[in-house]
Symmetry: C2
DNA sequence: ATCCATTATACTAATATGAGTATAACGCTG
DNA sequence: CAGCGTTATACTCATATTAGTATAATGGAT
């Protein structure tokens, strides 16, 4: 038996979490939302709607989007999004450690 | 913006969490799974299948079930389930406190 | 002007989830 | 032994979520 947890941010509905973090990280690497989605095995459509929904609830844009041009365009993570990513990922990392400890504390010697 | 989290236990699939905890608590109060489900606005059918699935994955029974008899029967939470409930609810309570602190630490002064 | 890869968005289809309905079996009580 | 309210379980139907498909629009490069 093992503990599992998820932590995310809400404003008026979900605003940030593990999935969005991974998408933005891949956008940083690839330079476009389309290829980020492809790398995750996710349809571009889904990724786009997800980001759009988050942006609307946040009131800030996460991606600076260029459409058209030499290579069709691309997306860049905004400074605001970079902050969110950094803070959220650190929060999550520490939460993992702390929760694992809490689990051991409370479930030590369990199983009758 | 606020943090939200969920924590649950897995074995071969979900084995315990907030929903099951609430059901079992209501069984303790009402003496039957049927009325527990009713109090939660959940169909008996759903509640029964949920508990049955958990029991199978755990390898232990959570409810001691009597069928037939004076008042039709009823269910009682097993000692094993009581331990699970106690440990899980304490774990969750402490996790809430700790995670709220972690959130404040990491998101202090956020919003640009 | 055409091509290209991308963003942007609407519309449809598949799937998963959950709710509801139905029915059997059980066993105490009167 | 008939009635009652419960557990136990199968089966169908509605609904919500998600995935997929299609199509436009953009703008620099050739």
């Amino acid at each position: 038996m093992r503990p599992v947890f998820k932590i995310w941010l809400e404003n008026n509905g979900k605003v940030f979490g593990e999935g969005p973090l991974e998408i933005l990280q891949k956008v940083e690497k690839t330079g476009s939302l389309r290829s980020a989605a492809a790398q995750m095995g996710m349809s571009y459509n889904k990724a786009w709607r997800l980001i759009a929904a988050l942006e609307e609830r946040l009131g800030y844009s996460l991606l600076e989007k260029r459409v058209g041009g030499a290579c069709g365009g691309g997306s860049k993570v905004t400074p605001y999004a970079q902050q969110l990513m950094k803070r959220y990922s650190e929060l999550k990392e520490e939460a993992e450690i702390v929760l694992e400890k809490l689990y051991l504390k409370h479930f030590e010697g369990f199983k009758t």
